[in-house]
């Protein structure tokens, strides 16, 4: 308890200068404050440390550094601990509640420090490892551009495939064989993720061939009829755009597209 009071006004003079942006989180900052001043972590002068911690947050504010919520939460925790230490012990409290309110924080700090040390050890091991060579490393360099694959690669690649803009039409690509069902599917892909309208002209450009345009036209007629898609024209002879309509999800959930396709075959 005594530590909560004025333990070290003298230390405040030698206020450690810290690089604010160097701290990854509140635990980092707090731990550094404690270690730099060689404070006994099992007897933290909470008042002093809280003040220093808050000073740092103020400095960050002045520097317009965006202060993460984690830092604020820690400030609140520190103030709470400080206030608890100032209160006389509650005689009715259970032994558990009567514990030093700093205990939890100390545990977290120690845990955090352990991993910081472990990280350093790992780095040393890695540097040592880098000084040795194993021959087949050469083979790892990727035979014929092949990759060793993890689940992360798989998920990442899928995201990228989905995000890929559709290929611009090219003369080499023969899209003549495209079916009405495929065309409907394409419209679905196009409109699925968005409520924004898509210009009909753009869609037509992607299918410059005669057969492609016919399939597109038939697909759109069907989709409009089924109320999966609505065609909008804001002014006479203005550009036509397509948008999801009320039955969009319903129509594409079923086999409507294939059924329709069969009618055209």
């Amino acid at each position: 308890m005594s530590s909560a009071g004025g333990a070290g006004e003298n230390i405040v003079e030698t206020h450690p200068s810290l690089h604010l942006d160097a701290y990854e989180g509140p635990l980092d900052l707090l731990l550094d404050l404690i270690r730099r001043q060689q404070i006994d972590i099992f007897n933290i002068p909470i008042a002093q440390i809280t003040q220093q911690y808050l000073d740092h947050l103020h400095k960050m504010e002045q520097l317009n550094v965006e202060i993460a919520g984690d830092f604020i939460l820690m400030a609140a925790t520190l103030i709470y601990i400080k206030s608890k230490l100032l209160l006389p012990p509650d005689p009715t409290a259970s032994p558990e509640e009567a514990l030093d309110p700093r205990v939890d924080l100390v545990q977290r700090l120690l845990e955090h420090e352990k991993f910081k040390n472990a990280a350093q050890m790992l780095q040393q091991k890695q540097m040592l490892e880098q000084a040795t060579w194993s021959k087949p490393d050469a083979a790892f360099a990727g035979e014929e551009g092949e990759l060793v694959v993890t689940l992360w690669d798989l998920a990442k690649v899928f995201r990228e495939v989905l995000a890929r803009p559709p290929e611009p039409p090219s003369l080499e690509i023969h899209r003549e064989e495209i079916t009405v069902a495929e065309m409907m599917d394409e419209v679905r892909q196009l409109l699925r993720g968005t409520d924004a309208p898509v210009a009909l002209v753009d869609l037509c450009r992607r299918h410059p061939t005669r057969r492609g345009l016919i399939a597109l036209f038939l697909a759109l007629l069907e989709l409009v009829r089924l109320e999966a898609v609505i065609a909008v024209q804001s002014e006479l002879f203005g550009p036509i755009s397509l948008r999801k309509h009320k039955l969009f999800d319903v129509v594409f959930a079923g086999e409507a597209a294939t059924e329709i396709d069969e009618q055209y075959n």
Binding site: W133, K135, A138, G142, E143, E144, G145, E146, L147, V148, V149, T150, L151, W152, D153, L154, A155, K156, V157, F158, R159, E160, V161, L162, R164, P166, E167, T179, A181, E182, D185, E186, Q189, E255, T258, D261, E262, N265
Partner: protein, 207 residues
């Protein structure tokens, strides 16, 4: 440098070199060692390889020194190598196709094509051959296209209990965004991860 240290160094150098190492190269790399010392140490290395307890030997070839496995062990080595399951290596097109199948299964070839924008035919063949993908009947649609899904081997290879364990796109989306938006605080000048470069290349090759 004493003879043992020199021999050790030479052995390490010959081991890592992809090409036969010439006396000239060694002289340049170890200026404090005379040509005679080098030659003597190399001879001892060559001789050491001849002892029956060694499976590797250093031979003079094409004007330089190179490390080889001994002929008498070739059968054992070949057998061993053949029995190994190499790590899963996939080309980017194959990986993309696998990803689409994993997340959209069961799925048909035209559907994969629609998503990828490229015909997955050869990638599919690779995946089927590697046993990562199997057929799953036919879709009740025009032409009754074959459906594909991932195999048990796929689950094993990726350490999954079932496909439900695949990370959702949202889950990885957050991670990926964090890694893109926030440049690594590591020492500046880190080159962009090799992954993306390779990818672009593979993509180009894929077109």
């Amino acid at each position: 440098m004493d003879r043992d240290a020199l021999k050790a160094q030479l052995e390490a150098i010959i081991y890592v070199s992809e090409e036969p190492v010439t006396l000239g190269q060694l002289e340049k790399a170890l200026p404090e060692v005379t040509r005679e010392e080098l030659r003597a140490a190399l001879e001892e290395l060559v001789a050491a390889g001849r002892t029956p307890a060694r499976g590797l030997e250093i031979r003079q070839v094409a004007g330089g020194y190179r490390m080889y496995t001994k002929t008498e062990h070739h059968e054992a080595v070949r057998k061993f190598v053949r029995s190994q399951k190499p790590p899963l290596r996939l080309s980017l097109p194959a990986l993309e196709t696998l990803a689409v199948i994993a997340y959209k299964q069961p799925v048909t070839q035209p559907e994969i094509k629609a998503i990828r924008g490229v015909d997955p035919e050869s990638a599919l063949a690779t995946l089927l051959e590697k046993g990562l993908v199997v057929t799953a009947g036919r879709k009740e649609a025009v032409g009754r296209p074959i459906l594909y899904r991932t195999s048990k081997e796929f689950l094993l290879r990726f350490g999954l209990k079932d496909v439900g364990e695949l990370p959702t796109l949202e889950e990885f989306e957050e991670l990926a965004r964090a890694s893109l938006g926030e440049p690594e605080t590591s020492p500046a000048g880190e080159p962009p991860s090799e992954g993306s470069a390779e990818q672009t290349e593979a993509e180009a090759g894929n077109a």
